[in-house]
């Protein structure tokens, strides 16, 4: 465990050094991500000018959801996005060969080899929207609520990682596959809306089957107290199941790896 953390720290350090060279593109990404969020907030304000609530969610609660979803995706992008999206290149170029001969947790290396430290900038937008939404809601929340939110966000990032990484593992069989980035787009777009608005059975499906509801809606509902605190156990359990499934899938793929031709 300590060794793995040490390894993650070194990979993080290496990535930071590498990205210091590309700071302008990072600032550019920050501006475009913030703009995207600003447009979305405008869109939400527009919708709520016609109605007071979306299946029980008022404007400020939806804004809170937008803030948390921005936070979760920024954390995912910071930790995993680049490594996950570029994984098929490793398979295609045969560089995975050298990785697999090393005495380490290869999934960990493949997942953290390209962290993007400057993506953390985007968490500022998420935190700002969250703070604004909380101010508008006006309630004071206890330690338990914050703790539930923290665990929920951690689970959300892990669920997002498990889904995207599982898709990228498919490149073992089809190295030209670049679906991980598209999957992320598909998954993160509805994150900014509460899954309740889809109605049943869709709401159930997007929470438990294609678990995007676990990523943001459930943590926010836990925080707001609109579902029982015990639901966190289900959230953690489902996260562990998805993460375990992803790891098993990785091990299976690595075992059958046929390597690129020299």
């Amino acid at each position: 465990m300590v060794r793995n953390l040490k390894l993650i720290f070194i990979l993080f350090k290496h990535s930071s050094k590498r990205y210091l060279e590309n700071r302008w593109s990072t600032f550019g990404n920050f501006v475009s991500a913030s703009l995207e969020i600003a447009i979305f907030i405008f869109f939400i304000s527009f919708i709520f000018s016609f109605t007071k609530s979306l299946n029980g969610w008022d404007k400020n609660h939806v804004l809170l959801l937008v803030g948390i979803s921005q936070l979760v995706t920024a954390l995912y992008n910071f930790l995993f996005r680049r490594s996950v999206n570029r994984f098929p290149d490793l398979v295609r170029a045969g560089e995975l060969d050298l990785l697999l001969t090393k005495p380490m947790n290869t999934q960990l290396y493949a997942s953290f080899r390209s962290t993007k430290p400057f993506e953390l900038l985007n968490t500022i937008t998420g935190l700002a929207i969250t703070a604004y939404a909380l101010h508008q809601i006006g309630n004071s929340f206890g330690i338990l609520n914050w703790l539930l939110l923290l665990v929920g966000i951690t689970c959300g990032v892990l669920v997002l990682y498990s889904i995207c990484f599982s898709f990228t593992i498919l490149s073992f069989w089809s190295p030209k596959l670049s679906s991980a980035s598209s999957i992320l787009e598909i998954l993160t777009t509805p994150l900014t809306l509460p899954t309740d608005i889809y109605g049943q059975p869709m709401s159930f499906i997007v929470t438990f089957v294609i678990p995007i509801g676990l990523v943001v809606t459930v943590p926010v509902k836990l925080f707001l107290g609109s579902i029982s605190a015990y639901f966190i156990l289900i959230e953690v359990l489902l996260t562990l199941i998805f993460f375990y499934g992803c790891t098993r899938f990785w091990n299976y793929a690595v075992k059958g790896y046929t390597s690129a031709s020299s």
């Binding site: 060794r3 040490k6 390894l7 070194i10 990979l11 290496h14 050094k17 590498r18 060279e21 170029a93 045969g94 560089e95 060969d97 050298l98 990785l99 697999l100 001969t101 090393k102 005495p103 380490m104 075992k255 059958g256 790896y257 046929t258 390597s259 031709s261 020299s262």
Partner: protein, 329 residues
């Protein structure tokens, strides 16, 4: 034998490859129904390699050299057969095993492209859990041997191909592996750099008693480094032994280079062997190995010979002919 550290028996590695009919209709058809066939990349080979040996694997493209190395290093799961490297089954990829070998591929790199090479060495220090003292000592030794003191802090992408290969070797040897698999380590390098890499490998093999298996398309690599050579083609071993034994085994002829004192009748010369070249006063004659002494004596007796040389065929020519199948039939 006790000092055998690589033991391979009846190793087979087949790949399933799908066969696609030509054209757009073939591509569409292959989406729904595919025909597969087996490619026998490695087909029933057996090898024993002892500690400290430096063995050369030679063969044409697609012969099975790299697949063998990948199977020995645990990257590929064998289709069948027995493999033991340092007492481990490589495909189990046990960390204890992985700490004891290294794989270097001339066409792939493990160095972080945008960072100085020393950053990759530091990462490997953690991956291989090398104590700091040992790391510093090994690094200094390798840096000195490869003369790269000034390049440690230079971004990898700014290094020349040869300099990069030197750094790749340091990254691969920083944990002092007992076994080193080298897949075309000198590919693309100029002759001076090839020589330097060869000298380094020879020195490393001797000083660390490391077992090295090397594949290369350059015969010079094999000639200079490897006492033992394994010739492989179509996944099968054609020869396993000392390099000079290849000549004895496969070269059925020798060449006689003759300079005559005066003009001679080529028709008469033909009776003694096959004329490869006739440019008076010089001639080159190919004769069967078993008849060389007899033919040389006849030449001296029947012709006004000023000079006579008996030449062994070039090893590269022999190997080229072995791969072309001319010496096997």
């Amino acid at each position: 034998m006790s000092d055998t550290i690589i033991d391979v028996k009846n190793l087979r590695k087949y790949f399933k490859v799908h066969q696609k009919e030509p054209g757009l209709s073939g591509s569409i058809k292959s989406l729904f129904s595919r025909k597969y066939y087996d490619v026998k990349a490695v087909d029933d080979i057996s090898i024993e390699i002892k500690e400290g040996e430096l063995v050369g694997f030679i063969g044409p493209n697609g012969a099975g050299k790299t697949t063998t190395l990948k199977t020995l290093s645990g990257l590929l799961h064998p289709t069948s057969g027995h493999i033991s490297v340092l007492g481990y089954k490589p495909w189990e990829r046990k960390p204890e095993f992985q700490r004891k070998f290294s794989l270097v591929m001339g066409q792939k790199n493990q160095l972080w492209w945008d960072l100085p090479a020393q950053e990759t060495f530091i990462l490997n220090k953690e991956i291989y859990e090398i104590p700091t003292d040992q790391y510093n000592q090994t690094l200094n030794e390798l840096v000195e041997l490869l003369e790269v003191q000034d390049l440690l802090k230079v971004q990898v992408r700014k290094l020349s191909l040869g300099q990069r290969m030197k750094m790749e070797l340091i990254a691969a040897l920083i944990h002092s592996p007992k076994v080193l698999f080298l897949d075309e380590p000198t590919i693309g390098l100029d002759v001076v750099m090839q020589k330097k890499i060869r000298e380094f490998l020879k020195e490393y093999n001797l000083s660390h008693n490391a077992t090295i298996i090397l594949t290369s398309h350059y015969m010079e690599d094999v000639k200079e480094l490897c006492e033992r050579v394994i010739v492989i083609d179509h996944g099968k071993i054609l020869f396993d032994g000392k390099l000079d034994e290849i000549i004895k085994k496969f070269a059925t002829h020798k060449t006689l280079e003759i300079v005559f004192e005066e003009d001679i009748d080529p028709e008469k010369l033909k009776e003694l062997g096959k004329i490869k070249q006739f440019e008076p006063p010089k001639a080159i004659l190919e004769v069967k190995r078993s008849k060389v002494s007899e033919v040389a004596a006849d030449l001296l007796k029947q012709f006004p010979v000023e000079d006579l040389n008996i030449i062994e065929p070039d090893i590269e020519d022999i190997i080229r002919e072995v791969f072309a199948g001319r010496l096997l039939s």
